[in-house]
Assembly symmetry: C2
């Protein structure tokens, strides 16, 4: 068995997701930072580990190498079942995966650093327009997410019942990112209530971007 290694970047919200999951599971790991702004993730050494050159990448203690934060969280939930990141029933698992993917597929990829960079380089988007683009896609999904969370009897202290899971992880990572672009979170009282409940837990606080060794 080797050490678990997480290749990541303090500010990357997909990296933050995996850090939270590892902390909830109580998995110790070696933190390897790749500075996305400086292109360190384009180093040949890292591309041999992750040909996309993206973070995060998890290297498990048996050498299994996995990219994509949702795939990593599913893997962790199988390898270290307690505490679970998904409910015990199929419909519950579907609901939590759906809520997580609303953020992980419909918000984050469109607002990713490389997409914003391309808007700047191809369309001359300035900081004001970049922030507007970011907020637009957050609001497009946070409106129905707020509704789904507010109206469902499955919502508890967290997105699904009274224990944090995969959807809460994505929610907190996104909410943290939102602060950089001044998203009006007062529109989303249920999302805020769940975020605040998560931020009572050390697994969400100790793994936050500002607390990481590569934080600026």
């Amino acid at each position: 068995m080797n050490d678990v290694v997480l290749h990541n970047y303090f500010r990357s919200s997909t990296s933050y997701r995996v850090r939270i999951a590892l902390a909830l599971k109580g998995v110790e790991y070696t933190y390897v930072a790749h500075h996305l702004r400086h292109g360190a993730h384009r180093e040949a050494g890292y591309l041999a580990i992750n040909p996309q050159g993206l973070v995060p990448t998890l290297i498990w203690n048996d050498g299994t190498t996995i990219a994509q934060s949702l795939a990593i969280m599913e893997f962790l939930d199988e390898e270290v079942p307690e505490p679970p990141l998904l409910p015990a029933d199929a419909a519950g698992r579907a609901r939590v995966r759906m809520l997580a993917q609303m953020i992980a597929c419909d918000i984050h990829p469109v607002n990713n650093l490389r997409v914003l960079d391309r808007l700047r380089s191809r369309y001359g988007a300035d900081d004001v327009e970049i922030a507007d683009w970011f907020r637009h896609w957050v609001n497009e999904t946070f409106r129905p997410l707020e509704q789904l969370l507010a109206e469902s009897a499955h919502t508890g202290m967290f997105c699904h019942g009274d224990a944090p899971g995969m959807a809460d992880i994505c929610l907190v990572a996104q909410a943290t990112n939102n602060a950089r672009f001044n998203v009006d979170m007062t529109l989303y009282p249920t999302i805020c209530r769940i975020r605040d409940a998560c931020l009572e837990l050390d697994a969400f606080v100790s793994t936050a971007p500002a607390r990481q060794p590569d934080a600026e």
Copy 2:
């Protein structure tokens, strides 16, 4: 038990994913079309089913309602285990989910109809620029995807071994979309080989966009 219902749109590649999964599992369903271009998905009746107003949404025979194509495929794989869409081992499942999410998170959302529409409305992008944007994000991910598939001993006739699964589904749906934007697929011989192997199977052919009742 009620009929299974799939709310979808013939051209939507996330809808195509779910149609393939249902066909591989041999699940019969009622096809309900929502024309994204005509805004039919913004009808109050559909928003009550899916507050995002996006397709696909699956309504299972017990009334369970699920949006997000990856969550739907995971649910189907749990409810109807044969044939499996994921391998039997955790590392294999992680690999297939990773390959699927490279497409489902890093290509599709950035090239989605609503994003392309916003590029047109906000930045005046014309058809040439839209096609360029589309191909850029496909190529950014297809290059490492081709490498991962070509170099891994886990790759078989399909993305993982010799039976089609979740990664193949995403790959074929994306490759079908690519044809509309003239992506140069000769750059990706392994991806093409796997696509062609899939297209030997009725589950991939009968569910293709052009074969659906709402096809234009």
